[in-house]
């Protein structure tokens, strides 16, 4: 518990690029390869800047990004389109979570 509190109070470590980005006030998703997730209604998710697919089934798609893993769960999930940067998932989406 105490450890958890400590980590919360600690300032998040920022690397050089992030700090530079902060100074110049640039949109983060353009400069850093941070994933950008767009959810349209409950049937369309677009993830930009993803690393690769970890798991793919009808009910769950796990996608690796630079920092965390994004899990999209739902029903009848279809990867509408996949390129080296973007992935478009369609289906009945229940949740999008960072793990």
């Amino acid at each position: 518990m105490t450890k958890g509190m400590k980590t919360l109070k600690e300032k998040p470590v920022k690397n050089f690029k992030e700090r530079l980005n902060n100074i110049f006030d640039m949109p983060t998703d353009v400069i850093l390869d941070v994933p950008k997730v767009t959810v349209t209604s409950d049937n369309n998710v677009v993830i930009e800047n993803f690393g690769g697919i970890l798991e793919y089934s009808q009910n769950l798609i796990k996608v690796k990004t630079k920092s965390k893993i994004i899990g999209v769960s739902g029903n009848r999930l279809v990867i509408c389109l996949i390129t080296d940067n973007d992935i478009i998932i369609e289906g009945i989406i229940e949740s999008v979570r960072w793990e």
Partner: protein
């Protein structure tokens, strides 16, 4: 999205089935090699769409990811061409149609006239025909400038027109001129007489000798302003008299009662005559052409075949429908009759200002009296001794 789908159909793609324990690995390898996949569905095995060029590069990936790949479906134009390579007649047919359409696009197949209300459609069509705008003419042979000139000269009612060739349609847009009744020539001496009888309200005379004053009762044809001026010194002068003379006038008309109106009812029977028109050649699509109905309404319309908006083909389908009707005469009530006559009179006295409407019914006669205010100037020339 439709455009992308069409593009994919044009380029051709393959639907593949990926069998293996880790299709995720297969996907990752594909993305790393910039192989484009779409519509990936996962049930027991994975299916995906892939373009033909990329499919050829899958061999290595399938080995690396321990996946086996099967083709389920081949979709698109390249496969279609491959499949029908040996069918010469079909190829000739497709090419032939394309060539025929291409050649046909050089001609004008339809003439569209917009904006005529008073000038009859037939007259315009005839004039355009004479000027060289007709169906079956090469597009480049139509000199829009000279066509415009010819028509403007031949039809004096035209005030403006334009000829545009859109696709295979010649669109002729016209504006009509309002032709006023010929005014009495300004340099000729004349007198003013009353167009109708009435009581003079206002008499503004610009030129000529005024013979009446407001309040006078005049008869039809009575001289109101004389163009002959007699002076003590100058002798007799003849002038072009001019002015506004407004009078209250009465118009009355009698109608016989009772009045009848026609009521049409459809009996439900109908007959249709369809025909196919190729250029000026008509192909009947019916056998029994006689319409045996006594009274009928005819509805007709033409459907021109066209590709898109501009490319009209010289093919049209004509629908003709005849609906049988029964016509019965029904006696109008007095009120209806009065309204009907009012309508008639209103239309007749459109140009005057109607002040009052009255009616009387006596001995089966309906008498309608209208009180109006109107300008009763009518210019009349006269004979005079020239100097």
């Amino acid at each position: 999205m439709l455009l992308i789908k069409l593009f994919n159909l044009f380029k051709g793609y393959v639907v593949i089935l990926v069998k293996g324990t880790f299709p995720e690995r297969f996907l990752n390898l594909c993305t790393r090699r910039k192989i484009f996949l779409w519509n990936i569905k996962r049930e027991e095995n994975m299916t995906a769409n892939i373009s033909i060029q990329d499919f050829k590069r899958l061999k290595e990936i399938s080995k690396k990811s321990f996946c086996r790949i099967h083709i389920i479906k081949k979709v698109g134009l390249p496969f279609f061409i491959y499949k029908h390579k040996k069918r010469k007649a079909m190829v000739i047919g497709i090419v032939g149609i394309a060539v025929v359409l291409y050649i046909m696009s050089y001609f004008v197949w339809a003439v569209q006239i917009i904006g005529n209300t008073n000038i009859s459609y037939d007259l315009l069509e005839q004039e355009l025909y004479n000027a060289g705008v007709k169906s079956g003419v090469l597009r480049k042979n139509i000199d829009t400038y000279s066509v415009r000139n010819k028509l403007m000269i031949n039809i004096p009612e035209l005030s403006w027109m334009s000829v545009n060739i859109k696709g295979t349609t010649a669109v002729v847009e016209i504006k009509e001129r309002n032709i006023l009744p010929p005014a009495f020539p300004k340099d000729q001496p004349c007198s003013i007489v009353a167009k109708t009888g009435g009581v003079i309200e206002v008499a503004n005379v610009v030129e000529g000798e005024r013979l009446i004053s407001p309040g006078d009762v005049v008869q039809k044809g009575q001289i109101l302003v004389s163009g002959v001026l007699e002076g003590d010194l100058a002798g007799i002068r003849y002038v072009h008299s001019d002015g506004d003379i407004v009078a209250t006038t009465w118009h009355e008309k009698t109608f016989d009662l009772p009045m009848y109106k026609e009521v049409k009812n459809y009996t439900g029977k109908e007959k249709s005559k369809h025909s196919l028109k190729i250029l000026d050649f008509c192909v009947k699509l019916y056998i029994d052409g006689e319409v045996s109905y006594e009274n009928y309404e005819r509805k007709t319309f033409e459907k021109r075949l066209s590709l898109g908006n501009g490319f009209v083909l010289p093919l049209s389908f004509n629908y003709d429908k005849y609906f049988e009707q029964t016509v019965s005469k029904i006696k109008m009530t007095e009120k209806e009759a009065v309204e009907e006559t009012y309508k008639l009179m209103d239309n007749e006295l459109k140009e005057t200002k109607i002040i009052n409407r009255q009616y009387e019914i006596k001995n089966n006669k309906l008498k309608v009296i209208y009180t109006c205010r109107e300008n009763i100037v009518e210019k009349v020339g006269f004979e005079f001794d020239s100097y």
